[in-house]
Amino acid sequence: MIFHDIIVVGGGLAGLRAAIAAKMNGVDVAVISKLHPVRSHSGAAQGGINAALANNPDGKDDTPDRHAYDTIKGSDFLADQEAAFIMTEAAPGIIREMEHWGCPFSRFQDGSIAQRPFGGAGFPRTCYGADRTGHYLLQTLFEQCVKHQVKIMEEWFVLGVSIDDNRVCRGVVCLDLHTGNLEMVGANAVIFATGGSGRMYGGKTTNALTSTGLGVAMAFWAGVPVKDIEFLQFHPTTLFKNNVLMTEGCRGEGGYLINKDGERYMSRYVSEKVMELGPRDIVSRSTQTEIEEGRGVEGKYVYLDLRHLGAQKIMERLPGIREICIDFIGIDPIEKPIPIVPSMHYTMGGIDCDQNGRTEVPGFYAAGECACVSVHGSNRLGGNSLLETIVFGRRSGEDAKNYVEDKEKKPQEASLKKTAEEVKRQLNTIGGGNGKEHPYKIRDELGEVMVNHFGIFRTESEMKEGQEKLGKLRERFKKVRPIDSGRAWNYDKVWRMELAGNLCLTQCIAIGALNRTESRGAHFRRDFSKRDDANWLKHTLYRHTPEGPQISYKEVQLGRFEPEERKY
């Protein structure tokens, strides 16, 4: 049986950074990933990563404290303040470390790392490499993995976390896609860095086809609580045609949002000083309002206009955006405005963990988008997610190293075998019936329900209707039949499990969002349009029980900043 001291699940930024932290401390660590690490969705991040380096001439007074304030205000005060400070204080060091490892950041004339303005930030503090920041960071971390000889098991698909009868994590069970075999991998610590869940919204998301959220669902099934997943970020600018991301950097560089009348409509919603650089929740709601009130182009979308930036700036700072527009919609943004709509982008919530990635199960950690520390609260600022992955990836790796130090280095076979049996049972029963339902049809309908009933604007009646539809989909899912019987590269198996995960997480989201009778950050209810700190300044915790998700609440760690009305 395979054994490593630490197993990291996921090869994106958080996972690789955790693995490097462990490896540099001399621990036996391996990364298990369903994709080759460089294929991870971290690489699609565009606009940048925040750190108060104060390199920008307009940002000389920036400090980690101010970064923390912006983060906490952006979170609509649901972030845990100490965690936010940990992140913003670590940020300059983390960025410099990535630079020292070769990350090709763009530069200012003086040779320092370039920084651009981003939404909801008081200072221009978003460090960037053109509009390919995620790609550069991911390549750099993969390069460091090559340098440090980090072991990677790629295209291995984790299907179960092994937690023994004493509630201690013992490893994972995975499917080797190449062979179709189930493999047990023992470990004293497991770090989940499995990424986001955007595909719950079907095709209406910026997320990769592989960002399905199964990691979060798996942790949930294993009895680890999940936190705040009713908060879903809708990115204001995604391509009308296929929801590919158009970075916030477009607006950071000076791009306009305009409606069908050619009006910069953000002036209606935020101050003249802020305009397009409001936080994402507000800009998305404003854009959706424009479209709903009939000021969208053809009633369907608005424009992101970059033309006034000029060809040189677009080609230098936003070459990837231009490439995507030309390749996918046949429009050159130097000449024409880009048709955009808001769509699902990021899950603020995730596996409940602390500032060191620890969950309530000893030896089980979470980091990155699948985790909820929480630093983003109910609305994440652009440029903070890449930062979170690296800061908390590293912290998890270091904490796990300390945790495994005095543990016996051998697999706990009984626990792993039990998990493997459970996974086998799941594979046979979850969507493994002989009914007539087609998994892809259920997946598509699920996406529609989420878009239509749990979108940017929510109301009780719409959500209740959606909740009912979700229940019906879960019933129908029981009648799904396997459609591919092959062994190697059997995606049907994988996707059925992912769909089961989606159906489970969306069930939680519906309950949590209906319960939360207030509007906070990305969770906006038309029937309760004000924030309600007296009743709702608290995190939602979701626990798996045989009777369905059980909800409880957890205090928000306040600190230096008293909750105040968010004004931009």
Partner: protein, 243 residues
Amino acid sequence: MAYLKIFRYDPSGGVKPHFQRYELPPEKGMTVLEALFWILENEDPSLAFRCSCREAVCGSCAVHINGEYRLACKTQVDLLGEEITIRPLTHLPLLKDLVVDMKPFFDQYEKIKPYLIPKEEPPENKEYYQSVKDRKKIDTLVDCILCGACYGSCPIAMGDPDYLGPHALSKALRFVQDSRDGGRDQRLAIVATEHGIFRCHTIFNCQKVCPKDIDPTGAIAKLKMKSVGFKIKSMFGFARSAG
């Protein structure tokens, strides 16, 4: 009406290599990746192919489409004519259908030491300063998504499995030209061999197919120039000691 002719092969299921023909629905604006999904979901759930981001940044879906190596996700079906033939990347072991074993490809990449070998200790609480001009020297080279299109298109890679390949060689230049890197001589010693830059016959296929507009042929030519100087210097013992 478009037809897809797809390479099929599944050693684990006893399926011998052959082409299978599928009819596509007359839908406008479909990408090849969407067409593959359409087949998977409507015609044949056993079809294997790789994909992830569907926006041309992850490098998963490079395949051979109508005579050229391209990313399936950004290739429009409408531009390909009535019959579309799809094959996996060549020069790499076949696993199933359009999925190949990328290990040899990444093994070559690892040989060139694809990580910064710092010229000097990093400054404390500061980044290395790099001028805008110096940063420009690694432009586009840093955009490589390691998709393998260049490698598939390279006739040298077909004849020489030890050939480092356009992807690894242009990555070598990415570091050699980085003002922060001190591993120039080490790397030139690795690439200036008969399985490295001198094996390249300047055929330009890699440059033609690169979905990120990188010019590996040009990168290899630059490495050749640099290594000639390096060879002469090392003959006379002037080569910089490896950092």
